[in-house]
């Protein structure tokens, strides 16, 4: 089955926008609706669309790494973000924050929960991709 030209063209446009949107959802999640779970689901939907249009092979080429590696990476990131708190002598997974800049008397902060959220994102996206790709190639 060859997907239609319209689908393939639209997909190229859409998928890149969907992926950008998913990262946006992930990063703004701490202050507005969104976050790692929602972001990963959006990205997963985008990749699913891509698979329908271009086939699983091109998706594998595009993401370069094995999606199972994404799960491992996410798990590692979540654990490391928890261990940083322990290094500071606090319980596992305690959030730590650092101010990196100040714009218009507003602090821009990064903290370990952000990395944790990115870990969540990677695990959920990795799981979705692993399953969809495996099913599609079966």
């Amino acid at each position: 089955m060859i997907p239609s030209l319209i689908l393939r063209t639209a997909t190229r446009l859409l998928v890149s926008m969907i992926l950008v949107f998913s990262v946006y959802l992930l990063l703004r999640g701490h202050n507005a609706p969104g976050g790692g779970f929602a972001g990963a689901l959006v990205a997963g939907t985008g990749f699913a669309l891509y698979i329908m249009a271009e086939g699983s092979e091109s998706v594998r080429r595009a993401i370069r790494i094995d999606p199972r590696g994404l799960i491992v990476f996410g798990m590692g990131l979540a654990l490391v973000s928890g261990l940083i708190g322990m290094l500071a002598g606090k319980p596992f997974l305690t959030g730590l924050w650092w101010t990196i800049a100040e714009i218009n008397s507003r602090e821009i902060v990064v903290g370990t929960p952000l990395f944790f959220d990115i870990g969540v994102f990677a695990i959920v996206l990795g799981t979705i991709l692993t399953l969809i790709l495996a099913l599609e190639e079966n």
Binding site: P33, F37, L41, L131, L135
Partner: protein
């Protein structure tokens, strides 16, 4: 609305149980989806409903200025939805593989390790039933 939703949850739960008891794996999955929804809604309603603002803190405030919706059940349900999805997918794949190996989605025809003894409650023989629930002839699709 809370009362109405309580009754709705009950009805959905009843439907899900009936589907899961049907002995057909596909119906079982449908029941599972309904059950997930019913339980999520149960948690949501238990945290009280109010047509208020979402649990967000405004740009120029440190704590919510006006009353906001209860954030606790929302956090519980959010992960529950994602986990429900992951498990649903897993169950799907499991049943798919079962069908590939056994060629049927009727649970009464899957009793390879524990074959049925003569059960007076069963109106039909296993062979009849498997036809009823879509056993395909020969091997399952590769």
């Amino acid at each position: 609305m809370e009362t109405a939703l309580a009754f709705m949850c009950g009805i959905i739960a009843a439907a899900s149980i009936y589907l899961m008891l049907s002995g057909n794996l596909i119906r079982f999955i449908f029941g599972l989806v309904l059950a997930t929804n019913a339980v999520n809604l149960l948690i949501f309603v238990s945290g009280r409903l109010a047509e208020t603002r979402p649990p967000l803190i405004g740009d120029d405030a440190a704590v919510p200025v006006q009353e906001v919706a209860n954030a606790l059940p929302q956090a519980l349900i959010l992960t529950a939805i994602v986990i429900g999805f992951a498990l649903l997918t897993f169950v799907f794949i499991l049943f798919y593989r079962t069908y590939q190996s056994l060629g049927t989605v009727d649970t009464e025809s899957m009793r390879i390790s524990e074959p049925a003894e003569s059960d007076p409650d069963d109106g039909a023989t296993p062979g009849d039933k498997s036809d009823a629930s879509g056993r395909v002839s020969g091997e399952g699709p590769a």
